[in-house]
Amino acid sequence: MSSPGKSCIPAQRLAGRDLGLIRGERVLFRDLNFDLAAGQLLLIEGPNGSGKTSLLRVIVGLVQPQDGTITWRGADIAKQRQAYHDELVWLGHRLGFKGDLTVAENLRAEAGLRRMSAAPDLPVFEQLGIAALTGLPFRVLSAGQQRRVALARLLRVKAVLWLMDEPFTNLDAGGQALVTKLLQAHLAGGGTAVVATHHELNIDASVQRIRLI
């Protein structure tokens, strides 16, 4: 938020206007607004069951909100789905890898779906501490190792927008520090991120917070 009060359309990336979502009888949130520019992080906080994941799924476009719109680079995301998806990477609660395939086979299948960095994968695997695991079936990895493999998606896909649901789950202290470091580097490089978590996040970046109750 370098210039509050002044509208800066070119820098603005992701924005939510008057968002509202009702699930069953419950109003999860209403009249929610946010405005994210390059280098900014949106932190969605709140206790379990407060609708963090639901809000994240609305922002990513999996769920239609009852009210309001999400815009990406000034246009409604529902009208430019492919362009929006081309620039984002989603790290959900379920990781999206096949247990019976090896790590390498899983990652290869993913390369057909998204724009991948042309850089070699090995340095990425070494950075994440999974270089020795690529020949193993995904199923036999520990929960923390599986999380680390999923982090490879963030590094291999050169996306502008990262959306992460509870990224610290199952990770050890080293892994949590790694996620923070990756986020920090992403934001410093002009990326944008939306993170839903109940963890404390010590990050040196421009952070906006949404607290759900």
Partner: protein, 232 residues
């Protein structure tokens, strides 16, 4: 950011990545493929034993029995079409990929046919022999079964996508798909029967071909919409 040093996958890359992944997965977990196949073989090979060795009767009943068994075996395997992807989160990644969703739905259907439909077509001649079918009849059956099971994989994907989040979706899935599957069954059986009696059977084969083309062009779009709805 630096989008310059990255390569965007082509449409064909997306299609082949899904097909290859699903076939590889089936290769590593052969039970999923073999269950419907065993069902097909057992059901259709028990009939000749129950009916008896009367060749005339077998020739009369054969096409219907083989077709019903193939239809049921395909319906059995349809339920799991999107279930695995839904449970491990791969489906979210498909929905959020920049590739067009109908293309990915088409890839899923094609993989399902390669895994489920093609093996049925391959073993069908063995079953046909036990029904005393002639070579010409077997040819007609292979043609109609190929077109029919491919149509079923494509149309069934719509139902599988709609019933994804439901707990006991299997019965509902069969109910949804049956009205679309019945024409395939009628024309498939009739075509093989006509071939068995030595009559011209090309009309039925043309109908199945047209039905299959219709399914290839329209079903992936319906499946894509159904996937978006059931993932809300």
């Amino acid at each position: 950011m630096n989008a310059g040093n990255s390569t965007a996958p082509s449409l064909f890359d997306g299609l082949s990545a899904i097909v290859r992944r699903d076939v590889l997965l089936a290769w590593k977990r052969p039970g999923d493929v073999l269950n419907p196949l065993f069902f097909f073989v057992i059901v259709s090979s028990l009939f000749p034993l129950a009916i008896g060795p009367d060749a005339e009767q077998l020739r009369l009943l054969g096409p219907g029995v083989v077709w019903v068994a193939a239809l049921l075996a395909t319906l059995l395997s349809l339920n799991s079409l999107f279930l695995g992807d839904f449970e491990d989160g791969s489906l979210e990644q498909l929905l959020l990929s920049p590739q067009p969703l109908p293309l990915l739905a088409l890839a899923k259907s094609m993989a399902h046919w390669l895994i489920g439909g093609l093996p049925l077509v391959v073993v069908a001649p063995l079953i046909a022999i036990s029904f005393q079918m002639s070579v010409d009849t077997i040819g007609a059956m292979l043609l109609t079964l190929s077109l029919g099971t491919l149509s079923l994989s494509l149309l069934g994907a719509i139902g599988a996508a709609l019933t994804i989040g439901l707990n006991r979706g299997n019965a509902l899935l069969s109910l949804l798909i049956l009205p679309l599957a019945v024409p395939i069954l009628i024309f498939g059986t009739r075509t093989v029967s006509l071939a068995a009696t030595g009559d011209a059977y090309s009309a039925g084969a043309y109908f199945l071909g047209a039905y299959c083309m219709l399914a290839v062009t329209l079903a992936p779009f319906a499946t894509a919409v159904a996937l978006r709805i059931s993932n809300e």
